[in-house]
């Protein structure tokens, strides 16, 4: 059935989609938001590991809605559930950990900073950090970010303090500050998309410990579900339609986007016409939607005359190590070790950009310190191992008892992930999801410099861990990728020959089509990117409101 036309139809209600809905609703435009997942309320968020972390409460099951994954273009595809974020109102911002960093000025001009890097497809952003920064301020205020700016060599300029003071941290944070000081490194407070004090009618964090990969029953986590979406609905101009899966975007004879065809909660096909269509399904899923939206005008997919949709996919380079403190051995000298505070909130960014190539790379990244996640099933599955190294019986139980006697500190690396010609998203017509729609297929070919950088960062992180005198240090990996951080598949830029979107994130080839998730980013930065996605969406919204008001 064809619905009445609206001004704006937004697909996806997460970090990218929600700010658009809020700003356009505030400006008085009629907005419809299509969201494939359910609309959970805070009461739906309970601390049940099986429900939240091990089934499809948040993420689709890989046999119902797979992603395909292969190593190199000659590799064979494997079905996986990686590269999904939560499918519900608020998207990945609902079960994120809320590590909210800003990019640095250098991330906006990576190509001019690094020059030509062989095997990488670098580009500067068409705007500068300075032009972008006011929208970071805006996003931090609208979502609610707690933090404290400390000076350091790569500190990005800020116009003022964070909207909220930093969250309380575990005493180990002081130790990290101390050992970093000894090494002349800067221990930074990790800003969080979690409110440390009551804020705009929301209650403050209760430090419940099960945070990342769970929804927040307090509404203290600054997912768009708790902040931007309620505000958007309060404008009275925004209609949110959960459980509506967009299948394609249709075009008219002039090649303008005309409507979104979607399957509603009952699986019935509907068509929503709109003057402007905004896509924000995550960088992987937005590329999929555009590539699946073929027409005689756009036989290779919508806005894809250039063939660039899905290209330049970037995740975030990952490494991790863990330090184990045995409570029974350390309790006497560190009585605070078992303090219940869940947050560590310390980061190191001294190696964000190296002065030269001495270590085989220049663009490095960020180290974030945290306690390992307390999910017990997840932890025990890790202790059991697999294959020949796997254990069961008494050995497994001994490990579980040792785990009870441990506090485990870890760091994660958020390393640069250079775009390469070999890392991209396509759709695989032969493999369909439960809706009958061809799925996204990811091909990976990582740049060797990123591995060098990530290994370097892991080694630096281990120096910190070692100085904390733990009983054990274990390296988890130096060559992974964080697939829930997604970017680049519809780059923005000045030149339609090398980018899909213009400076305002409008498709070069389709004048009323916008993409506002991480797809626009020509470089991913070396921090988690959700705050940047939200800020950009506020930026795009302000341009669009201005344009629409002019008529």
């Amino acid at each position: 059935m064809t619905k009445d036309a609206v001004d704006i139809c937004i697909i996806g209600s997460g970090a990218g989609g929600a700010p658009m809905a809020l700003e356009l609703g505030r400006a008085g435009f009629k907005v419809v938001v299509l969201e494939k997942g359910a609309h959970y309320k805070p009461k739906d968020f309970v601390h049940d590991e099986i429900l939240n972390s091990r089934r499809n409460f948040f993420m689709p099951l890989p046999w119902e809605e797979p992603h395909l994954w292969r190593q190199g273009s000659s590799g064979r595809y494997e079905r996986t559930n990686s590269a999904w974020t939560a499918n519900c109102v608020g998207g990945g911002t609902v079960h994120m950990s809320g590590y909210f960093y800003r990019l640095k000025p250098v991330d906006f001009r990576l190509r001019s900073t690094l020059g030509e890097v062989k095997g990488a497809n670098l580009a500067d952003w068409p705007i500068s950090y300075e032009e972008f920064a006011p929208f970071y301020d805006k996003a931090e205020a609208e979502l609610g970010v707690s933090g404290e700016a400390r000076p350091h060599p790569f500190a990005e300029p800020r116009s003022g303090p964070y909207p909220l003071p930093p969250l309380d941290v575990h005493p180990i944070a002081k130790e990290i500050d101390r050992v970093c000081g000894e090494m002349k490194w800067n221990s930074l407070t990790t800003a969080r998309g979690i409110i440390s004090k009551p804020y705009r009618g929301r209650s403050a964090c209760s430090y419940c410990a099960l945070c990342g990969s769970y929804g927040c029953e307090m509404g203290a986590k600054s997912g768009t579900n708790a902040s931007v979406i309620p505000a958007a609905l309060a404008t009275g101009n925004v209609e949110l339609r959960p459980k509506c899966m967009a299948r394609s975007i249709e075009v008219d004879k002039e090649g303008r986007a005309r409507s979104v065809v979607y399957l509603d909660a009952d699986g019935v096909e509907q068509e929503q016409p709109a003057k402007v269509i905004v896509v924000s399904c995550t960088a992987v899923e937005s590329a999929r939607l555009l590539l699946n939206s073929t027409s005689s005008r756009f036989p290779k997919g919508l806005a894809n005359g250039s063939g660039l949709v899905g290209r330049n996919l970037m995740f975030s380079s990952f490494g991790e190590s863990r330090a184990t403190f045995r409570i029974s051995k350390q309790k006497a000298s560190r009585p605070w070790l078992t303090a219940p505070d869940p947050f560590v909130n310390r980061s190191i960014q001294d190696f964000y950009l190296m002065p030269d190539e001495r270590f085989g790379f220049r663009k490095g990244g960020t180290l974030g310190f945290m306690w390992t996640h307390p999910n017990p099933i997840f932890a025990a599955v890790g202790l059991a191992g697999s294959g020949k190294e796997g254990v069961f019986g008494k050995e497994l139980k001994d490990r579980m008892r040792a785990y009870r006697d441990s506090r485990i500190l870890q760091f994660e690396v958020y390393g640069e992930f250079l775009a390469t010609p070999g890392t991209y998203v396509t759709v695989e017509p032969g493999v369909k999801d439960k809706y009958g729609i061809p799925v996204a297929a990811i091909t990976m070919d990582r740049h060797p410099k990123d591995f060098a950088a990530t290994r370097f960062l892991v080694e630096r992180g281990e120096e910190v861990l070692a100085r904390l005198d733990p009983d054990d240090i274990e390296r988890v990996g130096v060559a992974g990728e964080t697939t829930i951080l997604q970017h680049g598949t519809c780059r923005f830029g000045k030149d339609p020959a090398t980018s899909v979107l213009d400076k305002d994130c409008r498709a070069h080839e389709v004048p009323n089509l916008y993409v506002v998730d991480g797809s626009f980013m020509p470089s991913a930065g070396s921090v988690p990117s959700t705050l940047t996605i939200a800020a950009n969406s506020f930026r795009v919204a302000s341009q669009l409101v201005r344009k629409l008001k002019k008529g």
């Binding site: 997942g37 359910a38 309970v46 601390h47 049940d48 590991e49 099986i50 429900l51 972390s53 091990r54 089934r55 499809n56 409460f57 993420m59 099951l61 890989p62 046999w63 994954w69 292969r70 190199g72 064979r76 494997e78 996986t80 559930n81 990686s82 499918n87 519900c88 994120m96 419940c208 410990a209 099960l210 990342g212 990969s213 769970y214 990952f318 996640h373 307390p374 017990p376 099933i377 997840f378 932890a379 025990a380 599955v381 697999s386 294959g387 020949k388 796997g390 069961f392 019986g393 008494k394 497994l396 139980k397 008892r401 785990y403 009870r404 006697d405 493999v431 992974g480 964080t482 829930i484």
Partner: protein, 214 residues
């Protein structure tokens, strides 16, 4: 029951899990087994099948249940601390495999259990339940070590994952009786208060009603 899987360029299970664990929490670890799902099984109506004939259990016959329970008890045997049976892990597995989304896992599990029983009869001339604990461990080790691409390895993996879910999951699913699992790993003390769901919480109901995105 060996499954053919590509080997060239395949990710190891470790790297697969690694990609899932970022930001802490092991999002949908089920994936590692789920991944092995064969292509395009037609989506079935979500009705749970009726209980197996002549069996008071939901998923298993009496013998299957006994075999499964014996295997779980070898994964987490009772020693100075409670084991899988003490935590009611077998009841958890019997119930959870009724989840419509786990249909394939249930089929794989039943097949694996039958293979375990056959192997026990051929090796020890007796059923798995009657085998000695040492013999049971010997068999489980063979399954564990038989490799990722094999049905045996796949079964072992599901067995361990479901045993740990039953031992450490919310008690409303039927396992983790008296929270013995949580006590073993210190989940009752690590964090705090508010870690577990409130009194009277019904996980299976949520799984049925809101953990379903259709």
């Amino acid at each position: 029951m060996a499954r053919k899987r590509s080997s060239a360029g395949r990710l190891t299970r470790r790297s697969f899990i690694q990609r899932l664990t970022f930001f802490g929490g092991g999002v949908v670890l089920l994936g590692s087994t789920a991944c092995k799902r064969p292509a395009e099984e037609p989506a079935q109506a979500a009705a749970a099948p009726p209980p197996v004939e002549n069996s008071p259990h939901a998923t298993f016959t009496g013998l299957e249940l006994a075999t499964m329970a014996a295997a779980c008890e070898r994964i987490l045997p009772r020693d100075e601390d409670p084991g899988a049976r003490d935590a009611n892990v077998p009841a958890y597995i019997d119930r959870i495999l009724q989840t419509p989304e786990l249909k394939q896992m249930k089929a794989d599990f039943l097949q694996g259990l039958a293979a375990l029983e056959r192997r026990s009869r051929s090796m020890f001339k007796k059923g798995f339940v009657e085998a000695t604990p040492e013999q049971q461990d010997e068999l489980l080790t063979i399954f564990k070590d038989s490799g990722e691409g094999t049905g045996e390895g796949h079964f072992y993996e599901i067995l361990v994952v479901l045993t740990l879910e039953g031992f450490l999951g919310d008690p409303s699913y039927g396992g983790n009786k008296d929270r013995v699992g949580w006590r073993l790993v210190g989940f009752d003390t690590v964090g705090t208060v508010a870690m577990a769901p409130p009194e009277g919480y019904d996980g299976p109901k949520c799984l049925r009603e809101c953990g379903d995105h259709r």
